[in-house]
């Protein structure tokens, strides 16, 4: 079996996912196209050697529909022979895309394969694709469907994280992200997005609020109390699964949950030979990857489960990992993983995360993989584990190791 190496990673800056966001005028196909062009041009590869482009996208409808990966490859003037496939593992779609690209390389199906993702949340709002899970009555009842935010609040309640705990975590994320930008730690991966006349519309993460402190966070109203406690009353459904809990403590709000943003990412994966052909130095080896299902009502406890599963398979322990990167969907998700696996905060999301910079659903996995690889290189460390919590109760993870 071949080894899968990471040769390069690129990402857009993240634009506010609203009508006044800088990336709102940029179509999702453009976001994906520009990342594919950038990763090709930076590495000067002939795309005839790229066998497949795998892109994550969580709302693959309307202008994100119709296999945006293949169409983005065509639009980026890739070789006609480069195939494309869009995948959806909710929030882990981008990482799943990289894992699939790596699997294709390992299996010998591809020489080069690109993984990544795209999501324009300002143009295609979250939930636009509907789905049987929340809508179909039989399925919603069977799976005890509740929105993720209620699940995140349930995690905080069940595992004992107070409003202060989650707010303190959020403040630290903002602090770390601000420092990382200040020190240009993201520079290697960031590719500014250009408009139709070729001018840069966004060169930095637009969503950040570096001045955030505990007072400003404390003033925010819990976001999921109304839908949980009143209409339509999702808390009662969550408690059918967790009857040992009297009531859910609603601690999450806009300031300690991931931001809604637009963005895209791409990761160039390939075997040793194809890299050598272009004189490219592998930046890291993909050491292992895994996905897992977890209880769907609380929904977001998969990261610890999938990490345990993957480390066990690799014969590793938590101590063997130098840096952890867990998508900050909600503060409680990260606090729970650190609690469950005894991971020190110094190793977790050292440059901030989605609470500060945003979470462009399908793209995030590819983005944070690049972030942690850049950080390994900057600090001379070896091994990192990237993971995300996933809708409907899942977790996906990847371990990378610098060569």
């Amino acid at each position: 079996m071949a080894e899968a190496y990471i040769y390069d990673t690129v990402r857009t800056p993240r634009g506010k996912g609203r009508k006044d966001g800088k990336l709102h005028e940029i179509t999702p196909i453009q976001l994906a196209t520009q990342m594919l062009q950038a990763i090709r041009d930076r590495n000067q590869i002939d795309t005839a050697d790229v066998d497949d482009v795998v892109l994550g996208c969580v709302s693959p409808v309307a202008e994100q529909g119709a296999d945006i990966a293949r169409v983005a490859a065509l639009n980026a003037d890739y070789a006609e022979t480069t195939a494309g496939v869009q995948v959806n593992r909710f929030c882990a779609s981008g990482l799943e895309a990289v894992n699939m690209a790596a699997a294709k390389v390992i299996a010998g199906e591809a020489e080069f394969a690109i993984g990544g993702g795209v999501e324009s949340m300002s143009r295609i709002p979250m939930g636009s694709d509907g789905g049987a899970w929340p809508m179909d009555p039989a399925v919603a009842f069977k799976t005890y469907f509740v929105p993720q935010g209620v699940g995140a609040d349930l995690i905080a309640t069940k595992f004992g994280f107070s409003r202060d705990d989650v707010d303190a975590y959020a403040m630290e994320s903002q602090k770390r992200a601000a420092k990382a930008w200040e020190e240009k730690r993201f520079a290697k991966s960031i590719v500014p997005v250009k408009d139709v006349i070729g001018e840069v519309v966004l060169g930095h993460d637009e969503y950040m609020r570096p001045g955030t402190d505990m007072q400003s966070l404390a003033s925010l109203q819990p976001a999921f109390a109304a839908i949980g406690e009143q209409m339509p009353g999702f808390d009662a459904i969550a408690l059918m699964r967790y009857p040992e809990i009297e009531r859910i403590n609603h601690v999450h709000h806009a300031g300690n949950s991931s931001g809604i943003v637009d963005g895209a990412s791409a990761v160039l994966v390939g075997n040793k030979e194809i890299g050598a052909k272009y004189g490219l130095k592998p930046r890291a080896r993909i050491k292992g990857m895994a996905s897992i299902g977890s209880e769907p009502a609380i929904m977001l406890t998969g990261p610890a489960d999938v990490t345990t599963k993957l480390l066990k398979r690799l014969g590793m322990t938590v101590a063997d990992i130098d840096l952890f990167e867990l998508n900050e969907a909600f503060a409680s998700v990260v606090l729970r993983m650190m609690q469950a696996l005894d991971i020190p905060h110094e190793k977790m999301n050292v440059n901030g995360g989605a609470i500060a910079m945003g979470h462009p659903l399908g793209a995030t996995g590819g983005m944070i993989l690049g972030t942690v690889l850049d950080e390994l290189e900057r600090t001379g460390k070896q091994t990192a584990l990237v993971t995300l919590c996933v809708g409907a109760g899942m977790g996906t993870a990847t371990v990378i190791e610098r060569i």
Partner: protein, 728 residues
């Protein structure tokens, strides 16, 4: 034809007037006669060239059609038999069986001729479904007329096109509200939704309906049969309104039903899926879901208890046959506390004069004020309020009881006080008057000793709050005679409540069995089970409130007193309940329940919602090992089941119907089960006994099945099976 249910009259314009008038019934219901005549009428509309169109109406002043004849339904038995004969699966037979009326109505609306309906009065369930299949609907302008699809309330859903036509007329979201809640609408509301197209004076509705038929010889197609049909409010998996309606609606229905009601899930599914299908396919799907719902014993259990047994009880199923009607004209209400005040209120509202007596005038007046306050809250008109209050005479003078033909006593729950007021009353009204005690715990036979003619002494046990709770438990003492029973039942009919009749025993039926639910909850708390787990599982299994919450409402001090009284009464025979130590500890801690703001729950002074008392776990340490929710549910369920079975074995209960009605309407026992006896029959008595034996080994004798249950299990009998055999 002597059993003709529909008269046909063809007028000079070729309009066939179909007048529904079920013979021998005060109200039209959909039964075999009506179905047969409707089929014949549809055939004539289709084939008789002289018929240009039709108008349906009712020949009864009581209304149009009140729905299907649920008493005549036996889906289970019919399908099982037919399946045996035809070699088809039971589900296939059920599917064919349930789609009869639906197919007929579809033929009516696609017969090629205009059909209108003139609704002179109520149209419910299948009655409204008939109307919805007519192209034009005219209603009489009487605001008291109701239209609705109440099937959901008895474990069913509309199966004659109602789940498909209503959303296509009024939109998915409002239709779901009516389908899921069984809510009624007035003619004006119906007009607003397009459920009827015209409201007119009652005398004109048939003419208006005919006028429409005459004016529309060709343009009458139902909207959903038009090519250009658009769902009002939109429909389809990619429609945001539709998606939001279901995401929210699923959650609300799941929360309200705790996922326990099959018909609620089926209604949501059939509307969700049906709205995305062509009309005829959607109708077929409706029949499939309907078959699925009626194939589950849950629906027949619910129909039996919530509809058939309830109506029978209200119509006097348990009334001694030979006693002439004994209407109450003037009731003497002893005690003007919460119960006495409530009983006075419902009596006065039923047109009965009330003498409301208490020890001091202020207490009696306060009792009367209770009615005034409740009526004001309901925005009752000043005239009506004055009329009702005018019937209540608040007094302290026993002499005022003169002329009362029924006495109800609701004074403090001690034997001595009760005996005093009983004797004082007899001195005024004489021992021939029927005397009813509203005691909830003290045996009637003992209390009757204070009345010289114990045959005229009976228990009339109300539930709190009286004006809201539907049940009255009639308790027959050892010496109680048939006249007292008849009098009590006639009175319960007057105040429009549902009666059950039980024999004397400590706690009778309802208090005794409900008490086991509470005690089992307390026992678990004492054993170290997480309190939230106890409370949540109780609610999720279909009990209205958790055992700790309900004990707070009743008052822990009251539970304590009842326990002490029982201990005193029984002496050495007394066995302490499994939760008694918990109550004693709470009394030591000065926690009396909601009344002093301190119980198992804390009641914050700022008015924010109550929550479990945080120090509960310090006083009742939570074990590291917790039972599963299924274990907690099993204990709470089986503790109640075994006690109801004992009541049956001991003769406290004479019929399973009394047991099921008393459980559902008295203490809110899992309505989806149809009651504890329906539940035991459905589980199967051998399994019930097996589970009880296992629970006895783990938790003790309180779970031990009575011998009768063992015997029945061995013979593979059932409570309702035996009752039917006995009746035959």
């Amino acid at each position: 034809m002597t059993d003709q249910a529909i008269r046909q009259d063809l007028d000079a314009d070729g309009i066939l007037l179909l007048t529904i008038d079920c013979p021998g019934l005060s109200m039209n219901v959909i039964n075999a006669d009506l179905s047969r005549d409707l089929a014949a009428a549809v055939e004539r509309i289709k084939t008789d060239a002289a018929v240009k169109g039709a108008v349906l109406t009712s020949g009864k002043p009581s209304g149009f059609v009140a729905g299907a004849d649920l008493k005549g339904m036996n889906f289970q038995g019919d399908a099982a038999a037919a399946a045996k004969n035809s070699g088809k699966s039971k589900m296939a037979v059920l599917f064919e069986g349930v789609s009869g009326l639906q197919n007929l109505l579809r033929s009516l609306e696609t017969a090629g001729k205009p059909v209108a309906v003139a609704l002179n009065g109520l149209a419910l369930g299948g009655g409204l479904e008939i109307a919805l299949a007519c192209h034009y609907r005219v209603a009489a302008d009487n605001p008291r007329i109701v239209f609705g699809l109440p099937e959901v309330l008895v474990g069913l859903f509309p199966g004659a096109g109602g789940t498909q036509r209503l959303p296509r007329i009024m939109g998915v979201q409002p239709a779901l509200m009516y389908l899921l809640q069984g809510k009624n609408m007035s003619p004006q509301e119906a007009l607003g939704f397009g459920v009827v197209q015209e409201v007119a004076p009652a005398a004109e509705i048939v003419d208006r309906a005919k006028a429409w038929v005459k004016a529309n010889p060709t343009k009458f197609t139902q909207p959903w049969d038009e090519k250009s049909f658009k769902f009002p409010g939109g429909a389809g998996a990619t429609n945001p309104n539709f998606a939001q309606t279901f995401i929210g609606g699923n959650a609300m229905a799941h929360k309200q039903s705790n996922g326990n009601m099959n018909q609620i899930k089926a209604i949501l599914s059939v509307v969700y899926e049906g709205a995305q299908l062509p009309f005829d396919t959607a109708l077929r799907l409706e029949s499939k879901y309907f078959a699925k719902v009626v194939a589950d014993p849950q629906s027949s259990n619910m129909i039996r208890s919530l509809f058939v047994s309830k109506q029978a009880a209200e119509k006097g199923a348990r009334r001694p046959k030979n006693v002439p009607p004994m209407k109450t004209k003037k009731v003497g209400m002893l005690g003007a506390g919460l119960m006495g005040a409530g009983i006075a209120m419902v009596s006065a509202q039923a047109g009965i004069d009330v003498v409301l007596l208490d020890r001091d005038q202020a207490a009696a007046d306060k009792g009367k004020q209770y009615t005034a306050d409740r009526l004001a809250k309901r925005r009752t008109s000043p005239e009506k309020t004055a009329e009702v209050l005018g019937r209540i005479h608040a007094t302290t003078d026993y002499a005022d009881l003169k002329g009362c033909d029924l006495i109800i006593e609701a004074v403090f729950e001690t034997r001595e006080i009760k005996a005093d007021v009983t004797r004082a009353t007899e001195a005024v009204v004489g021992a021939d008057t029927i005397f009813g005690s509203n005691t909830s715990t003290l045996p009637i036979t003992g209390l009757a000793e204070a009345w010289s003619k114990p045959e005229n002494f009976i228990g009339i046990h109300f539930f709190s709050p009286v004006e809201k709770m539907p049940l009255v438990e009639i308790i027959v003492g050892k010496k109680t005679g048939p006249e007292a029973i008849a009098k009590a039942l006639d009175y319960v009919a007057q105040i429009k409540k549902t009666p059950i009749v039980v024999n004397d025993s400590r706690g009778f039926y309802t208090s005794r069995c409900f008490g086991t639910f509470v005690q089992e909850g307390l026992a678990m708390l004492g054993e170290g089970v997480t309190p939230a787990l106890i409370e949540n599982v109780a609610k999720q299994m279909g009990m209205p409130v958790g055992p700790l919450a309900v004990n707070d409402e009743v008052g822990l001090d009251l539970s304590y007193k009842v326990g002490q009284q029982t201990k005193k009464d029984l002496g050495d025979a007394y066995k302490p309940g499994p939760g008694e130590a918990v109550i004693e500890k709470m009394m030591e801690l000065g926690r009396h329940g909601r009344k002093n703001g301190k119980g198992f729950y804390a009641y914050p002074e700022d008015g924010s919602p109550k929550h479990l008392w945080p120090e509960l776990s310090a006083n009742f340490p939570v074990s590291a090992e917790q039972p599963t929710p299924a274990d907690v549910k099993e204990r709470l369920l089986y503790r109640q089941l075994v006690e109801t079975a004992r009541c049956f074995a001991e003769g406290v209960l004479e019929t399973p119907e009394d047991g099921d009605l008393g459980a559902i309407f008295g203490w809110g026992f899992m309505p989806q089960s149809g009651g504890p006896f329906s539940a035991m029959d459905t589980i199967g008595l051998p399994t019930v006994v097996q589970n009880l034996d296992r629970l006895t080994q783990t938790y003790g004798e309180r779970f031990a099945p009575p011998q009768l249950l063992r015997d029945m299990a061995e013979k593979d009998e059932s409570f309702y099976g035996n009752a039917a055999k006995k009746a035959a």
